[in-house]
């Protein structure tokens, strides 16, 4: 693994964040817009039982949702690189598959950190104060970074299925919508749907963030249970995505 290659590829991903409108919109504008909309719309609506605002209740879901939407730019960028012959071209250079995929994982995971920091700052400016301690907030970051792996994996699976970058943007919703509906915690759902969300990585990220923002002790086993299951989900999905894309998606 040569750092010169990885850094050069990471740099390109960051440039695409600024210069490619879809990436910029989904990775930065959409989470900011959602936070502002939910903040202004529900910041003063208080839930009687808890004394908290609806916005405070929604914050963990907002964080998790921003990681979920990452599926679209990941799928689009791989599909577009393939359409333009860039994957083939890079494949003829001494760059190894590990360096190429590693650079994508690194850049996307670091973009999630940026995303989380921006949403966190916005929430703070809008008066949101999590009950958790600093260690809990750091762990929340870790959850988001691990969760982003599953989104990258799903992005790769989407790019494998999609024939074009435009199609990838549409197909990505197959993975986004169910998770958004059942596992983001943004929508009140009947208990009968619990089984469905157990199979969605977003549930474990969203659940852990809710617990951590509510100030639960780090010794609580529910957090570590969520972490273990999320790691398993993310590693399996990202490995599956890489293998599928390598076998069926490159050409």
């Amino acid at each position: 693994m040569k750092s010169q290659r990885i850094l050069a590829l990471v740099k390109i991903q960051y440039k695409s964040l600024i210069r490619v409108p879809t990436t910029f919109f989904i990775m930065l504008l959409l989470p900011i817009a959602l936070t502002l909309i939910f903040g202004f719309a529900f910041g003063s609506v208080i839930i009687e039982d808890t004394g908290k605002s609806v916005f405070e209740f929604l914050v963990p879901g907002l964080f998790a949702l921003s990681g979920l939407f990452m599926i679209i730019p990941v799928a689009s960028s791989f599909s577009e690189d393939r359409e333009q012959g860039l994957l083939k071209r890079i494949n003829t250079t001494p760059t190894t598959a590990a360096e190429f995929m590693g650079s994508h994982l690194l850049s996307n995971m670091s973009m999630v950190i940026l995303q989380v920091a921006i949403i966190g700052l916005l929430c703070f400016l809008m008066g949101y104060r999590p009950d958790g301690a600093a260690a809990g907030m750091i762990l929340a970051f870790v959850f988001m970074v691990i969760y982003s792996l599953s989104s990258i994996g799903l992005g790769l699976i989407t790019a494998t299925i999609a024939k074009t970058a435009k199609a990838a943007g549409g197909i990505a919703w197959i993975f986004i919508l169910p998770q958004q509906m059942f596992a983001s915690g943004l929508y009140p759902l009947p208990d009968s749907t619990i089984v469905i969300k157990m199979f969605m990585p977003l549930h474990y990220a969203s659940d852990a963030l809710t617990l951590l923002f509510d100030g639960i002790a780090l010794s609580d086993l529910r957090i570590w249970g969520d972490l273990i299951i999320l790691i398993i989900f993310s590693v399996v999905i990202v490995m599956g995505g890489i293998l599928l894309f390598k076998k069926y998606g490159k050409a």
Partner: protein
Amino acid sequence: MSKSKNIDQTSNELIFGSDNPNAIEVKDLRKTYTGKKVIEEVKAVDGISFSIKKGEVFGLLGPNGAGKTTVINIFCGLINPTEGDAFVGGYDVKKDLSKIKEIIGLCPQQAAVYQFLNAKENIELFGNLYLVKREVIKERMERFLDLLGLSEASNRKAKKYSGGMLRQLNLIIALIGDPPIMFLDEPTVGLDPRNRRKTWKFINSLKETNKTVVLTTHYIEEAEALCDRVAIIDYGKLVAIGAPRDLIEKHDSKNLEDVFMKITGRRILEGI
């Protein structure tokens, strides 16, 4: 394990060692497409054998679908041959792909560049992928951009480039790692006559640096002007090979285009 590695190394030295005059060797190479998507078995490359000398500009000619790009894709490791052997720089395409990738540069048919980057950023990226030092990338980049007349537009994003400019950028990217063996797949298609001449001059300048250039083209006059030797491929078979002048004499023709038509003309006669 180590024993087989030694045998490979020895064979590489035998093939590409200083005594070996060949940069590329092909023996009975075949590529057949079969499978669910292909109704009929397609022989894209059908038992071709030839060698390309070090420092030679070698043209691969043939009608559309003759198998030229398939041969180049095999050399670059993008597809595996069905049968036969191919050695690039002495390395076996089936075993030593990572070594081959260090000594080749590909200018693909499709201009494969990042549209949201400018020319300099695209070149710099590929320079880094070949682990070229920053100052060397800068020096080569400026020289190549100047040679192909792209200097002024080098800070413009590639998506704003014309087709011809993209082709030239495509060519520069292939060269930024200074590979000893270059594959140029129809590098001048779609270029206007002025830019085509400029590209010819550029390719000719590669001869001075003793690079081996494998060029596919549809423009027969281009092959005649640039290539030391050409191979004509038709239906995946090698139907002629030699220096343009020798082929013209052998086939009693006025120029290489005549030779090409005499050899591959059956397609037209058969109405394919």
